[in-house]
């Protein structure tokens, strides 16, 4: 399973959506009401544990977590 699929599966599981296609890729999961604050924190914990990366508080911001695509780019950068 690739990074995108893994991330979208997690979001789908934590949301009230019925399918992955409903998850917006470019907009905020929080603002769009896909996940609440606790869901976003769980998402960050999931990224840390599944990709085995450490996310500092300073990195937990809208530039890195403002959308699915931004999260994927962030994971790519952290893996390098």
């Amino acid at each position: 399973m690739n990074d995108k699929q893994k991330l979208l599966d997690f979001i789908l599981h934590k949301s009230d959506l019925d399918s992955i296609e409903e998850i917006p890729l470019e907009s905020s999961l929080l603002i769009e009401g896909i996940l609440d604050s606790f869901g976003i924190i769980e998402l960050v914990e999931f990224v840390e544990s599944d990709w085995q990366i450490t996310i500092d508080d300073a990195e937990f911001n809208i530039e890195n977590f403002g959308s699915v695509n931004k999260i994927l780019e962030f994971i790519d950068r952290k893996k390098q």
């Binding site: 929080l30 609440d36 604050s37 606790f38 924190i41 914990e45 500092d56 508080d57 937990f60």
Partner: protein
């Protein structure tokens, strides 16, 4: 290295502050759940947060933002049914208000943009003096904040999400990049009675592209906090509202575009 942030630490501090400074009428409370990260996922975090906020409301009126930002939407503000769009904590108090709106100890201030849930000894009385048709100025909630004694509290929030006080200061200083606009609003009260009126809002001019310079706001706020009260950590502040308002207005009167990027 990420710091452990204990919600109790913040509430202990606020309670001590209220004991040290007598005769305070209110506290405006804004908190980002995201800021607490792992701490927020621990069992008991949610209950503890709600309990400690309610305990605070036993001694002082607590204002929780319940903003709806309807200026871009349908412009019908139903005080019992128009949901806030700010997050979990704000939703919790909105639900509590929906369940207990007849109680004098919980109320919602009527504004289609800057609405607050108020819990505390004078909640209903405070809200009754606020007009549903003014965003800022004498008939708005901001006038209550200025005329009474209280604190503006931000815990873990980013300045761009929390410094709505700045707009009231911009109106007081009559900054050149904003202007008074009016639009029609239908306000529905708790008795389901609808009133229509012109909502007055001090809005950014359409031809101005500049926006807040958040770094300057944070720096100014930190200066204030360091000198008069306390900076709890780099993202959390408690200001005496009137002092902060005067500081911001005075800065804007000296340099009207102080918070603008260009």
């Amino acid at each position: 290295m990420n710091k452990i942030k204990s919600i109790d630490l913040y509430f202990d501090f606020i309670e001590t502050l209220l004991e040290d400074y007598n005769n305070y009428d209110y506290i405006v409370f804004n908190l980002s759940i995201l800021y607490f990260r792992k701490e927020a996922l621990k069992i008991g975090f949610k209950d503890n947060l709600l309990t400690r906020l309610k305990n605070l409301a036993n001694r002082v009126n607590v204002f929780i933002p319940s903003f709806t930002f309807l200026e871009h939407k349908e412009k019908v503000f139903d005080i019992l049914h128009t949901n806030p769009t700010l997050g979990w904590l704000n939703d919790q108090f909105f639900k509590e208000y929906q369940d207990s709106f007849k109680s004098p100890y919980i109320a919602r201030s009527p504004s289609c943009i800057h609405s607050f849930i108020v819990i505390g000894p004078e909640a209903r009385q405070i809200v009754d003096s606020i007009s549903p048709f003014y965003s800022f100025g004498e008939l708005s909630v901001w006038n209550y904040f200025y005329k009474n004694r209280g604190f503006w509290c931000e815990i873990g929030t980013e300045p761009k999400n929390s410094f709505s006080i700045i707009h009231d200061c911009e109106m007081s200083a009559n900054v050149p990049y904003r202007e008074n606009i009016e639009f029609n609003v239908h306000y529905i009260d708790t008795n389901h009675i609808s009133k229509s009126g012109q909502y007055s809002y001090f809005a950014r001019k359409k031809d101005i592209s500049s926006y807040f310079n958040f770094n300057k706001i944070t720096t100014l706020a930190a200066f204030q906090a360091n000198n008069l009260l306390l900076e709890i950590d780099s993202n959390s502040y408690i200001h005496e509202y009137r002092t902060l308002h005067k500081l911001l207005v005075s800065q804007l009167e000296k340099e009207p575009k102080f918070f603008c990027l260009d």
